[in-house]
Point group: C2
């Protein structure tokens, strides 16, 4: 009897009826498999708790924030376990700490350090379905910690690895990973199988289905992920190692990210250590820089432009303004009217000409490219935000993704 | 620096402003004392969670119910600790299990078996205020359990005992214990000091300030309790061992209980084992019987009447109906128009004539007594519910409690 890990997000357990629906999905699986279920907090509960804490203080303590928000998943596991047991199927809920999920001491965004699944295995061997609270663990001080955004996916994938499970099913409110967002391009097709690396690049370039961290862990431990709908029974998208099961295509998907802002610092002297100075200061403030270009506008002077996520705009602007004097720059420009469009596919590695197809397609539609960055299996362009939907549709058609 | 345990009920932490108020009360105390705080779940949160569980299933599992409702206190401790820390006072929250509160395996109404306050003492020695979740503990299976109604008071008193604290302060929405309910008799006076035994009898006969279990534990370990208002700074009521500090009065208070129902089983044969049979069956169903009278109505036949709490009426009626045939009784009567009025006072032991004063006072007002029960320091009468307010006012005046 093989073991399956099923993970349900907050929207899948948002109310009593949805919890009963999840219970049914779990019970169905439990007929043929040992089952471990990971659940997130119901609906908006985490946000509501955070809002409540803001009414108490502007600067909530991180340890106490974890104590507070970890209650959300505890509510979900209790309700789901009740629902399953009331159908006559034996089950037990475990908090992250009870499940043996150990994490480091960085509150609100801890990393899992190890999993000791003794208790889970004991309960499984008694024939129980085990329901584990996602998003949380216990640190060396025996404090409750939370794992940050996408933490429940991470719990599920890490548990699947620790329990040597065949498959980790991620149930969500979409029914799989698409060639692009179907709300933008209605011809978008569901992708049956995608490689870890492609999914990683897609997550990094705007696809919201799963966080990069979970996919990295899945790749590291060879956990096969199946992203599928909580509400429909159709097959979703499998995420696995490149190889025979993953059809090699040149371009798998078009992704986009409207959450980008471009900043430029102008006319800085062209001498060693300047870039290191700028990006060192940003790193100190934990600001994640995405794309960078350096252009020699005039002799001996450079412009440096880069993109950051929208919420970091103010912090970044302040740092650049402070650096302006030190570096002898002539100015700082913030452009929040940009967006990023990307194409991702493992086949790119062996197919030259993909970049030029992309640039041509955009040019033909009169879309100007402001920045370009590439990896082995991804090409991203920063363009005007106003053009983003046209660009996505254009590229989706240019690479014939609607025909897959 | 002596240690004080402060306990705040749910109404004291019902919203952000009230939590900030509690934080201020705690900080004030923490200037001169080591402080351990016990908190209940905010406002109606426990009831809301129970209601949510009822939407998921009619028969929620007890272990999972504890997993669910224990989140309420966890929310309170996190918010209160944030509030205290944001004022620059060091503090840490601990769940019942983290605080070393061990309980037995009876979910939803567990008993505390032991307290190992190592973690609490460590944190206190670092100069922190320690905020402990009331109402919960950990059982030998390492499951979270809850302690039933009044559980947070119990946590506070038991912690005070384990930590050898001088005093346990119970903060609530009333400002102390009164000679009777001030909503019924507006001349009711706050009682400055009351003995454990009196408070136990008062709790058992309708006073709602504290549960009997907590007072028993306080008496056993000699923990002095101070019941006082969360919102006013005035002194409340101290509960302690009889002795020099407790002024000996004949009658300390008049209490009443409208939550009683009288049941009678008629014309049962007068032979040994009948009462044992009836009350054995009720005990099996965990029905708590309060007053009992047996009257020889005719030769060889008895009527047995007793009172139970209103929520048990249906279960009790069913049991009596089932017994009717077995015992050869002629009928079963349910009377839900009764209530109980009691007088409580340690001085009764040495002052004869208290009962007759009580019966006379009621008789003069035309109030008929249906059942009587007495202890060393309490006399209770069952009367018509319609007469209860008149009876309370009459007895309050008869024993001159308004003059105290």
């Amino acid at each position: 009897m093989s073991l399956i890990v099923m993970k349900f997000g907050g929207s899948s357990v948002a109310d009593a009826d949805k919890i009963k629906n999840v219970a049914n999905r779990v019970i169905e699986r439990a007929r043929k498999n040992k089952v471990v279920v990971v659940v997130s907090a119901p609906g908006d509960m985490t946000d509501d708790l955070i809002e409540l804490s803001r009414k108490v203080t502007d600067s909530p303590d991180d340890r106490e924030m974890d104590m507070l928000i970890s209650t959300g998943e505890q509510v979900s596991i209790a309700l789901l376990t009740m629902a399953i047991k009331s159908c006559g199927v034996n089950a037990i809920s475990l908090t992250g700490p009870q499940a043996g999920i150990y994490a480091d001491t960085s509150h609100t965004k801890a990393r899992i350090t190890k999993i000791i699944p003794t208790k889970i295995n004991n309960e499984l061997s008694k024939g129980k379905v085990v329901i584990v609270a996602g998003f949380q663990g216990i640190n060396p001080h025996e404090d409750i910690t939370t794992l940050g955004r996408g933490g429940s996916d991470l719990t599920a994938v890490a548990l699947a690895a620790a329990l040597k499970s065949n498959e980790c099913e991620i149930y969500t409110d979409v029914d799989g990973v698409y060639t692009t967002d179907p709300r933008v391009v209605k011809e978008a097709k569901k992708i049956p199988v995608v490689s870890y690396d492609e999914m990683l690049e897609m997550a990094g370039s705007g696809a919201q289905v799963m966080q990069g961290r979970s996919i990295e862990v899945a790749k590291k431990f060879g956990v096969k992920i199946h992203v599928r709908s909580s509400f429909k029974k159709t097959e979703g998208t499998s995420i696995m190692e490149e190889g025979s099961e993953v059809e090699e295509v040149v371009v798998r998907a078009v992704t986009f990210d409207k959450n980008q802002v471009k900043l430029s610092i102008l006319d800085i002297p062209d001498r060693p250590g300047i870039a290191s100075k700028i990006f060192g200061e940003l790193a100190k403030e934990s600001i994640n820089v995405d794309m960078i270009i350096q252009s020699a506008a005039r002799q001996k002077y450079n412009d440096i432009s880069f993109t950051v996520a929208r919420p970091d705009i103010k912090k970044t602007h302040n740092i650049l303004n402070a650096l302006k004097k030190t570096l002898g720059a002539s100015g700082v420009i913030v452009d929040d009217t940009v967006a990023k469009v990307s194409i991702v596919g493992v086949g790119m590695k062996s197919h030259p000409g993909v970049a030029s197809t992309m640039f041509n397609a955009l040019a033909k539609k009169g879309i100007n490219i402001e920045m370009i960055s590439t990896s082995e299996i991804k090409i991203s362009c920063v363009i005007k935000a106003a053009d983003i939907e046209k660009a996505v549709a254009t590229l989706h058609r240019a690479f014939e993704l609607e025909k897959k």
